[in-house]
Subunit: 717 residues, 2 copies
């Protein structure tokens, strides 16, 4: 606990008399805005207790200078014209809203958007500039942002840093990943806030592109006050548009965080032309972990979509020629070359490496299996020329996104897939050469239209080109939305990898249906994911939008392919099934190889049955890092699916079926870890049995270490 | 003179026994290549005297590292895998070539390309990598470059620096401008090499984008050994393709220069994939200044064009709605706004500023005057929306290049111009947002095709976007050529401003007909050009290609427009005429306002008559910084034009007409400074008279301070 002198307390009390108060609709949350010695502050209470202490608000801007020298950086060292002090309040406005809206794809049929609003217009006397700070207080948390109204004295400017603080009164448990301008694919860490700097050094591995920020963490960040009455807090950001993503600098002694925006190599964080707004800073608060998972606060803070036609946007279940490359069984590249040139290399003359994954014959087999089992999509990676030297060379013209390898018959395969009721899913790995992707994207999307592809998986592996930009800097953020908007013109859905983490923007851009932007299943084949990882990500990464986690690995041990290989997926087979419910994924992959599913067609049945779009979702029970139990009702049906997962500890859970409808009986098919199941020693031990259930049923499940259970529930006809 | 110990001399003598010699076709130049302790060296002699002492060759490369931290730069500090030591010669090849080729547009009908070649393959034993250094020795100088053949151990790499040295045995006079990654528009300086560091600090003014490199200068650099037998040396570079432009670091005590490539903000100078070559480093050498001006060495070092159709490329004489904005008489912008948004601003609703240059009525008047006087082009700047906040705001989407201002009737004006036999010249100022220009260039060129424009003036004022690139970094160099190639697809000629200085690349890209890339006439309306500037630029900036210098200012004193204004063009009117001959400009502007030409229609006649494309050129007499006298024979005719200019000193010159054909009589119209002419006090004093001349004629001309003379010569019929 921080020490505070009596004098300071008195001083604060005096000043708070001039403060503005705002309450959430249910009254549980109270926001206080004040100006102290010209500096704006806010604090937040939940059920009468301080959640966030008085925390500073403000931004620092660049001045303009003119003469630049190569080895110096005068522009950045110029005197500042900051927006962080000398303010007086010139006016305030209050508003409130209660609306219900329907996401195109979502966890529930209808989301409620219900808040009270306070917007304060501040005037910086010395510069005669106005800044608006807008607060929206919902029952589940707070959103606030800076707004820069058009004014003659502030038409264009550059942001040096946003200094939004989140000052907590006491140490808390924190679930975090290291801050980075280019990667989010780090192991989640669980420590106290005060322990972050110590753990930080051990919390990263090497990535294909990374720019780490010491002693800072990424958002969404989950915090928990572990007292008799626990409190869960999620800090995130919403509507990150024309602005960089933020990290959070940690003041470990003060239990305080401060925004740290992603810069470009000039050190500039954002180029702004007024009128403009920042993203919303969000603080979701609840004494129940389940309510954090249930929050739609980030989506509510985004604007409704302007798309006129969203009819082409649909949930999708897909397989892919993918996992076999990830584990090293086959290759993305076609030839033995390790250097190619798209303008001069004749790929038909190269020596095939004999192990190219995306060859016509193999893809045809995948099409057969996927279509027979009711999937509607098949992703094929490595179909197009350029993979020989796609990574690690800062190569700008690395792919053209339109030319298949000689052994990939795109016309035949597209036709064949359509004849089986399946659409191929396009793959546009950009190698982070965003500039090259922009040059080719019209041709690439046109090709998709020509062959009837309606979904693209994009990828940004490596350092961003334009060089000097980062994966989450303002320019690149704008790039992702340019691509999403262009895809919309071609009626194409986007699943982006290595892109910015979502902040509810799918409300506005519903064709950007999912993203990776965290450490997904692929890392099980690299350095591994911890068994508790899947119980954390829904509290952090998922809070602003779905993730393409690519579960469904049945053959979890890789020594099956490569004798002696020590890699293994750190879950039981049953937990892999449960992920399809615990993790919201409107674009849902069954990631393993057909040969592995063929051996477990009984378990595979759950993946075939489970829905990807929902009318309702109930977070039954959850504790970050420990377990999550979720029930969801499939879109337009009375079918329910339940998933339960646990961390590295085995766990019993008694499921109360009270979420089911009154007066109905249901057939439940239950997929449970076998009695001897264990994620290390016996991951493929499971049992499947049927049960009739009603809303009064209570069933006890035993989850193995890193195990789980999955249930599909259909009303008895 | 540098001291060298006897021991070292002996050592060098021993080693030089193993050196490779190469002679120019006429034997005047001798190149010596040697390896000393694993390091490659070259030296150069002219008529037996050392021009360049043993000078090092080599490059430094980056190693790859993986973990990046935000505030550090580990990648750049990584251990190097340099290509600058440990070499042995593994083979050599010799070749020679004599060819004649015809430039699409040029100073002569035919250029001779005649050289002896030595290429040395070096092996770096420790890394088992090969590097080729190729020397071409012409009668007028040396070109050499590094070549990176494809090899398994060197497929992709990044260049940290190229360390090519130019080591001179003694101090020399140097004509130079300060080194900068973003601007070439500096006053030429004249000092000894040893004085460069002292003068450097006084040699720059503020530019809209600049990144100065201390104690370095730009190329082309002109040097002169001022002895009884003077020697002129020009250091430049040719075929700067997929590579940055270089500056030259100065070792003032050692009379030595070293290449310093333009980096991006990552500190990387070039991203290379083998096979690849660097630009040619060039050293033009002569004991006659005139031969330096006459050298086509840089063009010869470029590849012949691959364009199949060059028929649309033509010389052009144009006027422009331009100078009136430069001097501040009218504006590029249409409205009173100082902030606009191309996606949301309705320009038709803005308040006009009442002083917009490119309005329909005015443009029509310009069309009338230009067409009546035989011009075939009219440039109009400020025709398109976006100029309200185009500069200084790092704005990415600043222009769309297709939407005219409300008061510019593009359809009517294009039709009107065509009806008068005139083509409008398109203006694409990009505000250095190259990335935005790439996004819009197809639409922009299509619009030009639609309205029958065949020439575009591009501009890159401000800091380059993608941010982190420079005007002369590798990415931006590639951008310029992308635009040139795209323009070729649309049969469009390009005149680029604020782009990279040319290095003879117009041989390969003949539709990129001219460029600014130096301090042009516009600076006369800013901080001014020195009276000797025009006698220096042809030795430096012009050595690799023509410049859009935009001469023809008759109203040199700006107090004519703005009483009390101290700005004035620092030449006489007659010198402005002479520039049309002295400066090779296939795209040739008459830059002044029609109202000023109307007052001097007799002098204007020379601008109307002078050709823009040539069958022959004779450099009659020249001394850098003092004077240039040039005679040129107009394409496909027997008409000659002569121009003579002087610096701040008045000068007499007796012109020997022996360049004329035998047995022909000619009518010469002579434009000469008036007896009382003076660039400060009486710039508009001139006399015009006729004379019959033959090749035996000798005529004495008097040039006023910063004055000149111009002659048009037609065979008597």
């Amino acid at each position: 606990m921080k020490k505070i002198t009596f004098g300071v307390i008195l001083f604060l009390l005096t000043l708070s008399l001039k403060a503005q108060k705002l309450h959430s609709p249910n009254g549980n949350l109270e926001l206080l805005f004040s100006i102290k010695e010209g500096i704006p502050f806010y604090n937040l209470k939940y059920k009468g207790n301080v959640v966030v202490e008085d925390s500073k608000l403000g931004l620092r801007l660049f001045d303009d200078t003119y003469v630049h020298f190569a080895s110096e950086n005068e522009r950045i060292l110029g005197n500042s014209s900051d927006l962080d002090r000398g303010f007086t309040k010139s006016s305030e406005q209050r508003d409130s809203k209660k609306e219900f809206w329907q996401p195109v794809l979502g966890e529930k049929k209808t989301y409620a958007n219900y808040y009270n609003e306070l917007s304060v217009t501040l005037n910086q006397t010395s510069s005669d500039r106005n800044l608006i700070i807008r607060f929206r207080l919902f029952d589940d948390g707070l959103g606030f942002r800076y707004e820069f109204p058009y004014q003659k004295k502030m038409e264009h400017f550059r942001i040096k840093e946003e200094d939004t603080e989140f000052d907590f009164p006491a140490d808390m448990k924190a679930w975090w990943i290291v801050a980075d301008y280019d990667s989010q694919e780090y192991q989640p860490q669980t420590t106290l806030i005060s322990e972050i700097p110590i753990q930080w050094e051990k919390a990263y591995d090497k990535h294909s592109s990374q720019t780490l920020v010491k002693n800072a963490v990424q958002s969404p960040l989950l915090l928990k006050k572990e007292e008799k009455n626990p409190l869960y807090v999620n800090i995130a950001e919403a509507a990150v548009l024309n602005y960089p993503a933020s990290n959070l600098e940690v003041d470990a002694d003060g239990f305080k965080f401060k925004t740290h925006l992603t810069p470009n190599k000039m050190g500039v964080k954002a180029y702004v032309q007024t009128p403009s707004v920042t993203p919303w800073r969000t603080i979701i608060v609840s004494d129940r972990a389940e309510e954090i998972l249930d929050s739609k606060l980030l989506f509510n803070l985004n604007e409704p979509t302007k798309y006129k036609d969203t009819s082409y946007i649909h949930p999708s279940k897909y397989m892919g020629v993918w996992w076999e490359m990830i584990i090293g069984k086959s290759k993305w590249a076609y030839s033995t070359n390790t250097s190619v040139n798209l303008t001069s290399t004749d790929f038909s003359k190269l020596t095939p490496n004999g192990n190219h994954g995306a060859n016509t014959k193999k893809v045809k087999d995948y099409i057969d299996f996927a279509s027979e089992n009711g999937f509607d999509g098949l992703l094929i990676e490595g179909w197009n020329i350029g993979w020989e030297d796609w990574m690690g060379h800062d190569k700008e013209f690395v792919f053209d996104f339109i030319t298949p390898y000689p052994d990939f018959d795109i016309k035949m395969l597209s036709d064949y897939a359509h004849s089986k009721g399946l659409k191929l899913i396009m793959h546009h790995e950009t190698s982070a050469s965003a500039i090259n992707y922009e040059r080719w994207s019209d041709k690439a999307f046109q090709l998709m239209n020509n062959y009837g592809y309606d979904t693209v998986k994009t990828g940004y592996v490596g350092d961003i080109i334009p060089r000097g930009e980062h994966h989450y800097s303002q320019w690149t953020v704008n790039h992702y939305y340019k691509i999403a908007e262009k895809a919309h013109k071609y009626k194409i859905m986007v699943n982006s990898h290595e892109s910015i983490r979502p902040g509810g923007e799918s409300r506005t851009y519903p064709n950007w249906i999912t993203a990776e932007a965290a450490r997904g299943t692929e890392h099980e084949a690299f350095k591994g994911n911890n068994p508790d990882q899947q119980t954390i990500l829904p509290f952090t990464r998922w809070i602003g939008g779905s993730m393409d986690y690519t579960p469904g690995i049945f053959q979890t041990r890789l020594d099956y392919y490569f004798p002696g290989d020590k890699r293994y997926v750190k879950t039981t087979l049953t937990k892999q099934l449960a992920l399809y419910v615990v993790m919201y994924m409107p674009l849902q992959m069954a990631a393993d190889l057909p040969e592995n599913y063929r051996k477990h067609m009984d378990a595979f049945q759950f993946i075939k049955d489970v829905a990807a779009d929902w009318d309702d979702t109930k977070i039954i029970a959850a504790e970050p890092g420990d377990y999550i139990i979720t029930a969801r009702k499939a879109k337009g049906t009375d079918n329910w699916f339940v998933g339960g997962i646990t961390d590295e500890n085995q766990r019993e859970f008694t499921l109360d079926f009270s979420f089911l409808d009154h007066n109905k009986k249901y057939d439940a098919v239950i997929y449970e870890d076998g009695a001897d199941a264990d994620y290390i020693n016996n991951p493929q031990s499971y049992k499947i049995y049927q049960k009739v259930v009603t809303r009064r049923s209570k069933v006890k499940f035993k989850m193995a270490r890193s195990g789980g259970f999955a249930i599909s529930i259909n009303p008895k006809s």
